[in-house]
Amino acid sequence: MGLRLYVCIMKTWFAEYYRSHGAEPAEASVLASEHELSFTWRTEDGMIKREQWNINDVTVKDSINEGSVIKTASVPHARLVIKGKEAALFIKDSKEEKLKPWHKQVKNKYAVRNAGIFLGVAGVLVIAYFLLVPWFSEKLASRVSIHTEQQFGDAAYEGLGIAAQQDERASAIINSFFDEMHIATPYAIRISVVKDNTVNAFALPGGRIVVYTALLDKLHSYPELAALLCHEFIHVNNRHSTKSIFRKLGSKVFIGLLLGNAGNVASVLADRADDFKSLTYSRSLEKEADLEGLQLLEDRKIDPAGFDLLFKELKRSGPASAMPEFLESHPDIDKRIAYIHEEAKGKDVEENETLKAIFNQLKINK
């Protein structure tokens, strides 16, 4: 029953066709749709004729002796006689169906229901993709052991091929700078200073932080370096890289299950959706690293202006980006300066002579 509703409703019967009063009946083959009755019959001279009656024009009588007797206003005195009640019922139902509002007509009713189910399932999948899969992936990521994270991080560091450019002396000094901040963490933080002209720094899973010399050259005070290291440290300590990797993997597995081999176009679209999703996520992680990093500075009474100066320096040295903020992995620098200003208001600051001395040593080394 349900199935018939997906397709156009159609019925066929054999009938006796009387062209006029007292005429001999001819056998007719009737094809009935919701709009018309179409029938063919053979004339006395052997020709096959076809006739169509609009369903709105026909009248039907359900006779016990004859069956369904169908007449039309367009051909007076002609009648079709079909055995049984089925034809009469079909015509009656078709006429009633046409009088109903569109959304209550059988075919549309099921189309509306199917559209509802489709949207419902699509909604569930979208929620699963944007909320459940990332949540589950992060749960998995938080169960990864620190040792495994270290292996990930070391493999990534090796893979980048920058170990050869490492500045050993600067690395040793910067590590002692970080140790002097006395930040409690289960991770063994290993900071590498790498000779490179790129103004950048990043964190790898498991405790590795990489700072390029070009960025170090831009720093003028120890709070700036403290801000940079605290920001990267939060990425490590809050497992941001591991979570990002698991979220990306989770999305890939989910899309793979959903689309299977659904073709290149679908998978390219899914990839782009994934990129946008991970950009939003990475912006939220950057903000988390900024704010929690700021908290670390405040706890140690280091001047939070370090963040301010760092961002201003990054803005000056970075190429002017033509991309709007929603396409960037980091929040807009002006926005970062604004929320850091907001958070840093009225905090106690003390000069830390040890950190200052280590920082100066680093600059002298340069």
């Binding site: 997906y6 397709v7 066929t12 056998e27 083959s29 489709f118 299950l257 081999n261 659904a262």
Partner: protein, 105 residues
């Protein structure tokens, strides 16, 4: 209209052969059906979703063949044969071809 897979109809001899006709229906199961079908493939058991798609495609093909036969003046199609194939890049669409001989009995 009589549709039959046999080449004769009991008690109704063929008066006129009107020609061979065929009709086809190609239906794509949507991605949700593919997803549910994929789960069935993993979990085992009958996949009602795919069964319904096949049934729908078969009904469509037979309906179209009936209309073609009717337009030719036939009142029966004999020797009806149904073929089921998958088409499309990854075989994700289903094709049903109905063929037979339109006759006047």
């Amino acid at each position: 209209m009589i549709l039959t897979t046999t080449s004769t109809i009991e008690g109704r001899p063929v008066q006129e052969y009107l020609g061979i006709i065929n009709a086809q229906s190609i239906i794509g199961a949507n991605i949700f059906k593919d997803f549910l079908g994929g789960l069935r493939d993993v979990l085992g058991g009958r996949s009602k979703t795919y069964e319904r798609v096949i049934e729908e495609a078969k009904e469509d093909a037979l309906r179209e063949m009936t209309e073609k036969a009717h337009r030719m003046g036939a009142n029966a199609v004999i020797g009806v044969d149904l073929d089921f194939e998958t088409v499309g890049g990854s075989g994700s669409m289903l094709m049903v071809i109905a063929s037979g001989t339109a006759v006047r009995i």
